[in-house]
Symmetry: C2
Subunit: 246 residues, 2 copies
DNA sequence: GATAGAAGTTGACGCTGCGTCAACCTCAAG
DNA sequence: CTTGAGGTTGACGCAGCGTCAACTTCTATC
């Protein structure tokens, strides 16, 4: 089945002019253009538009959206990450709701307000960095062509490398090593080398990735299984490495 | 307590330049400006900023936000409506989550997609109209100076007028009257006259208000207590009236 | 076939809400 | 005094549209 430009513009709450603009940018190319120049969109386009709309809603600019979409072509995996982001957004709104309730209660009771409480949940400016890092990671682990080119054994070995790195971080942390020690920095070097197979990590990327390991419970769990506080330890070690070497 | 411009810019995820811009527009005026020209914000400013950020998040332009904020000065009432809007937004995201789950399931099972399902929850372009209508209504029912100037008896009489109108809509609907009949149009005229006490309803406003009666369950309930389908009946009657008379 | 209105096209322009930068001042700590 | 953090105003430009004009195509009706 396919839809006209106005069909989906209406449903998406946008305009045909915007969709043509997206076409011009190569962001959402219609599945077919009729002999009359009319654009038609199929289901694949629909899903792609859904992804675009979500990322716009999260505040990403169009070039970043294009990067994210090009970085992950496996629709099912993308939709799963989609879900995770929406759930995060739902949680943020829940925090806003709690914040307004607190403000309301304190206003009625004449209690002093705390700025952090009043504005909790309203800062969503880090989404672009967070999303591109997350999608970046998804891309090279699951959807990237390079990844797909690996045999199962190669994939296993690559993943094992990361498990080894995580284990070694844990050991060093447990042994009380300093984040800037040679031992720990060597683990970070292996980690960054591991990242470098499919990309060229910038200093900012490495620092941001370390922060993401702490901020996102799922990544934190990857490291903290080796001991409580390992994720933060990794973040700090990566920061040191990035500042010294990248 | 008070905060510097950077204190709250950071918490709100915005810039001091934006806050100065808001000051220039008169949208968020600092509670104090030091002898050195530095801006400081108190708790009242914090709450006002919270309201601004929410309305921005909902897509309202700054002039509309100013209008909304000026229309409702009772902080507690405003925060309650705030909550209602956030809950609505949470529900919209829940619909998005359901939509992505549906897309995911259908993609995995190879089922055809329906455009309405895929894009459900992604259209949030009507917020400006909806919010201003809702706040407009709140303003004149609760927070408006005119409303406050009425005695309790006068308030009761004014509200009774609306109850009478709703009852009469119900009776006409039950009697099978047509939305464009003289009888029903006379009820609409009384309704529009009732609205006209504190404002000058435009054609678009009246049509949009009728649509809101159907779209928002709380308003629908006001009318449908007189019989199922009365809200839609009122909407249609108002549309006919607006197109003929406004 | 003619007509009218809906549905689409491209291209140009302008708008809104910022973000960035320059040039400057003020404050605080050493 | 010096330096860097924290603030100011003003100017400019940007991104992502929305609107409009001028046009073509399609569809339904007579």
């Amino acid at each position: 089945m396919e839809w006209s430009i106005q069909d989906i513009a209406r449903l998406a709450g946008t305009t045909s002019r915007t969709l043509r603009h997206y076409d011009q940018l190569g962001l959402l190319v219609p599945s077919r253009v009729g002999g009359n120049g009319y654009r038609y969109y199929d289901e694949e386009c629909l899903v792609r538009l859904q992804r675009i709309l979500l990322l716009r809603q999260l505040g990403l600019g169009l070039p970043a959206i294009a990067e994210v979409l090009d970085g992950q072509r496996d629709t099912v995996a993308a939709l799963r990450t989609h879900l995770a982001l929406l759930e995060q957004e739902r949680d943020r709104i829940a925090r806003q709701i709690a914040s307004v309730r607190t403000t309301l209660r304190k206003t009625e009771e004449g209690e002093p307000l705390m700025a952090e409480e009043v504005l909790d949940g309203f800062d969503h400016t880090r989404y672009e960095q967070e999303v591109t890092e997350r999608w970046g990671r998804e891309a090279y682990e699951r959807g990237d062509r390079w990844w797909r080119s690996l045999s199962d054994a190669e994939k296993k070995a690559f993943q094992q490398q990361h498990l080894d790195i995580a284990r070694d971080y844990g050991r060093a942390h447990q042994a009380g090593a300093h984040v800037d020690s040679d031992e720990v920095q060597d683990i970070v070097r292996r980690h960054v080398d591991w990242l470098s197979v499919t990309m060229n990590p910038t200093k900012e990327y490495v620092i941001g990735l370390g922060e993401m390991y702490v901020a996102d419970p799922r990544y934190t769990a990857n490291y903290d299984r080796h001991g409580e506080g390992v994720a933060a330890f990794v973040r700090d070690a990566m920061k040191v490495y990035a500042e010294r070497n990248l």
